[in-house]
């Protein structure tokens, strides 16, 4: 899922300076699952901003709502008119939601409450780690299911850099060397012959280096 985290309160307070009537809009998609922008987080942010503004002597009227998703047009439909009742809408969705509100709701001023971080897995309650870079050219069948694009600090495609110590990454020793893990996993699966396959130079265009990505499936179009 998409992992995000709340921006520092001071940054948000600066963003909404001058706003007197604000809608904080959560999303029940990924950001709710990673406890960044669901109903609970909307309530916490609303309370914190009310307190912050009251302390600054500039009380603010804040309304709270959470949509099922902010990345599908049907869920944003009510916001087209509702959003105009506020000086601004503070979205607690990922950047996709903020962009989509800006695209779909003309006349609505939208701002981000979160920093969208990465595609990650939930390691335990309160801990997430990046597992996919969304590079658009998956090679996981060659690496035992472990992604060197997302999980190698140098995005290497053909084995480790040689700098790891004790199986830990030289860039950040709190992270395992993913190539070490790929080697161990392929060996245990008796698939280590895959390591002999030299991957060609990566085409980064599907990763977004060729401009914003767009996908169409003719069979699903209305």
């Amino acid at each position: 899922m998409i992992i995000a985290e709340r921006k520092p309160l001071k940054e948000i307070l600066e963003m909404i300076s001058g706003v007197e009537k604000l809608l904080i809009l959560g999303c029940r998609g990924c950001v709710a699952v990673c406890s960044a922008g669901g109903d609970k987080e909307v309530a916490i942010l609303a309370s914190a901003l009310r307190l912050g503004r009251k302390k600054a002597g500039k009380p603010i009227e804040i309304h709270e709502d959470t949509y099922i998703r902010q990345c599908d047009p049907e869920y944003l439909e009510p916001l087209k008119e509702e959003g105009k009742k506020y000086d601004a809408v503070l979205s607690m969705a990922c950047g996709v939601g903020v962009n989509f509100i800006a695209e779909c709701c003309p006349g609505v001023r939208v701002m981000p409450a979160l920093n969208t971080s990465f595609y990650g897995a939930n390691l335990s309650s309160g801990e997430w780690a990046e597992m996919c870079a969304g590079c658009g050219a998956c090679i996981l069948h060659l690496t035992g299911g472990l992604c060197p694009v997302a999980r190698c600090a140098k995005h290497l495609s053909n084995g480790p850099c040689g700098g790891s110590v004790g199986g830990r990454c030289e860039v950040d020793p709190s992270v395992p060397c993913i190539w070490q893990k790929i080697y161990e996993r392929l060996t245990s699966l008796k698939q280590d012959q895959l390591l002999r396959k030299i991957m060609p130079m990566r085409d980064w265009r599907p990763a977004g280096h060729g401009g914003p990505r767009h996908r169409i499936r003719e069979d699903l179009l209305p």
């Binding site: 520092p8 309160l9 916490i44 309370s47 914190a48 307190l51 009251k54 302390k55 002597g57």
Partner: protein, 136 residues
Amino acid sequence: MDSNLQTGKIVAFCCNYTATVAPETLREAGLIPANLEFRKLPCTGRIEVPALLDAFEGGAEAVFVAGCHENECHNLSGSRRAGKRVKYTKEILEELDIDPSRVEMFFVNRAETEPIIEAVREMTRRISKLGRLHAI
């Protein structure tokens, strides 16, 4: 309780098991000050961060939660959860340049009044030292 220490509203969230004596009785006995607002919960695990922040927005100078000792919670992990929420509230207060010691979690003996009274005294001491919380 020394009225000189009454420097503003204190909101206390207590569970059924830590606060067994009615606050009116404690107040009439002069054991807790008039500025203490008592909010009873079935379990402190019920407390949410917005309730703690809203107490400040509602005029509290200090807020505390009194729950059972971590290994004695009637609902097993209620007071532990409350402790984590108080910790997160402290982080939010810090972000807002509000002294985080204005909110506290106390793990107290069940069915004893003295620890609650001591918690009130402690929070009163803190806000006496910190002064008023701006315009709130």
